[in-house]
């Protein structure tokens, strides 16, 4: 017969509990080092995180509870910055626009990235050059590409209009950046082209880790090329595809530079995503308190969406 903890008399139970708890003041007691050593080792990291992450976050939360203008004095306003978000039509317009933009670009980025990965996954001659070419737009960066597109989208003189005119699609005078839907379409094309390279890289590493034998077995079972992609590659790329989608959605939610450079949110508010709206509240309207409250809401929303994606894309054994 063995005694369980509840079978012991009370004084013995409490002594046992003390014995269990005592080493847990700074975690399990090391057999070879005194606790001070562990404390000294983690202190730099704790200080770093405290000063550069937790303190700014706490300060941001404090700012969001004030009327903090960029100029002049401020006062504590409680939760009114958060309450005002519900009545801020411009913010909700930017939310809807960001969701629309995210919905437009997410799937094409994945599909284009996947197709590019398929083209270059085999170590054939020229694959390395193609990988470099496909990944180059991502290396150049959205900001640089956006500045180039400002010039190339000009009516009459930009390459976009000249090409479309040569193909007899338009008259070459389209003012792309002056029209909300046209500007959105142009920005989406730019982003899909620029960001698909990253998806390609993420997927290639996953594709190359799939054992060749699986494809050979599928082929012997009579699976076509499409069958092998759908029944072998895609299921085994679940994690890589999930990570690509999460990065893509987060990137779309935090989109800023391409809109700031190409349209500055205009015409009107037609192309204003959330982050650009927050930037305008902080540095154009000079309302840092209200903008910080919006930022904190955005952080929470992005975290929830990412958590939801992780949950949806989790492995189901």
């Amino acid at each position: 017969m063995t005694l369980s903890r509840t079978d012991l008399p009370a004084p013995v139970r409490s002594r046992a509990a003390r014995e269990v708890r005592r080493p847990s003041i700074l975690g399990p007691r090391s057999l070879v080092h005194p606790p001070a050593v562990g404390l000294a080792l983690v202190t730099p990291a704790v200080l770093f995180v405290g000063v550069f992450v937790l303190a700014p976050l706490a300060f941001a939360i404090y700012i969001s509870l004030t009327s903090w203008p960029l100029i002049g004095s401020y006062r504590f306003v409680g939760l009114s910055n958060y309450v005002n978000i519900f009545e801020d039509g411009a913010f909700w317009h930017s939310v809807v626009y960001t969701l629309t933009y995210t919905a437009i670009v997410t799937l094409p980025i994945l599909v284009v990235g996947y197709l590019m990965a398929v083209v270059v996954r085999a170590n054939r001659r020229g694959s390395t050059a193609l990988r470099t070419i496909f990944f180059l737009p991502y290396v150049i960066g959205l900001s640089t590409l956006s500045f180039l597109l400002v010039l190339e989208a000009q009516p009459g003189s930009g390459a976009v209009n000249l090409v479309l005119k040569a193909l007899h699609i338009t008259d070459g005078q389209t003012a792309w950046l002056v029209n909300g839907p046209a500007a959105t379409g142009l920005i989406c094309v730019l982003v899909i082209w620029a960001v698909s390279g990253l998806t390609m890289v993420l997927l290639i590493s996953g594709m190359q880790s799939i054992p060749r034998e699986l494809y050979e077995s599928a082929e012997m079972d009579g699976a076509s090329w499409w069958g092998r992609e759908f029944h072998v590659t895609i299921p085994l790329l679940r994690r890589a595809i999930g990570m690509s989608l999460i990065l893509s959605v987060i990137g779309s939610f935090l989109a800023f530079s391409q809109f700031y450079i190409l349209t500055q949110g205009g015409p009107g508010r037609a192309t204003t995503p959330i982050v650009l709206y927050i930037y305008q509240r902080a540095f154009v309207q000079l309302q840092v308190g209200a903008a910080t409250a919006l930022s904190i809401v955005l952080v929470i929303v992005v975290a929830l969406i990412s958590a939801g994606q992780f949950w949806l894309l989790r492995e189901r054994d």
Partner: protein
Amino acid sequence: MALKRREFLQVSALAGLAATLPACGSGILAEPDVTAAGFGEAARGTVTMWCRGATQAGVQVVIDKFHASQNQVHINLTPVPDGQYVTKLATAIRSGDVPDIVDIDDINSMLFIYRGVFTDLTSLVNALPYRQHMSPGHLRLATDNDRIYAVPYLADNSVLWYNKQLLERAGVDPTKAVTSLAGLLEAARRIHALGPDVYAWSIAGNSPGILGFVVQPHIWATGTDNISGTLGSQRGHVEGNEPLRKTLEFYRTMWQEKLLPAANYADAGTTWGSDFRAGKIGFFPSNYAATVVGADPAARARTGVTLLPGPEGGTAFFDGGDNLCIPRGAKNASGAWQFAKFALDVQQQQLLPAGGYTPVRGDAATGPFRQKYPLNLAPLDHLDRGYAPVTLAYNLLYNQPDSPFIAMFRRAVFSGDVDGALHAGQQSYDQILQQAQL
């Protein structure tokens, strides 16, 4: 002594909080004593100055002259891009490290004055012997509760330029045509009838700043503004604003009848004035810099100028330009004021047209000046017609790409939905003004 985990976390939290607290503060710095004996005279040392990137060349000329005139005060000039000026100055004030003097767009002056971060210059400005000759529009933008926080420095005004040769060929008398929008429309039709490549009017239809600069004076000419109420409780005056409606309808009619070049639709101001200087445009609402500075002698000779009319009479011009302000916390405010007085001397003011600007002193229009710069005189001779709204939200309402004024203008003029544009404009004006005055 061993530190327990709970104590360690408490100490860390306190340290983090302590690290954040120095960043908190009112943001209001100490005000220089402008009443001190000898203030603004025989100062010494370095004066740090910020100017808008657009005015750097003109300001540098005055600084060079100032340095040549004395050797006790040295001006250290920092140009700041126009689009970043407000944000950078606000950040500098928040950090407590401010320039001694700032050359700031007069329309943005009130943004800082209202927050109490500029030095009260009332006694200094009122003591200037030429006080009554200074631009009242500039001073209005620098005045809060009867206290003056800036001194006018240079003017950048919107007026109506016209091609005298085209008007003559079309049989248009500018003194009669430019008295109402109906008269201008009739003249515009006759000018466009001269030929398919001749247009009556030109405007940068995709530039928010330019649209606010050249369209609003038509409304102000009637004594009305698109903003109503006093600072702190302003709201939009858009729906029911008849001068605004008539102005938008005037432009709508010109667009429909193709009296404006098609390129106006997408023109963001990058080639502003080039078509007028080429002699293809009858009327051109604009400023001196875009119209005259880059024009050859023949183009200048055929150019006439007048103020912008209201729908049924009256005249106005946009009283834009720069003010000089001394931020609270300035380390060499005395040297800054000494330089400001130098920059306001008639000799320096008369240099401004060379850089594309207009003096802010009416008494700068001396005989030789009139002979040298005849196209610079229209606003200078009518300083009382200058206006610009005193508001905390000018940038948001007019200068940003997402501003309601450009959205309203484009919807009314290019899409033809005047009622919808005014309705949406009213909502946007109210929302922006409410947020800006929190």
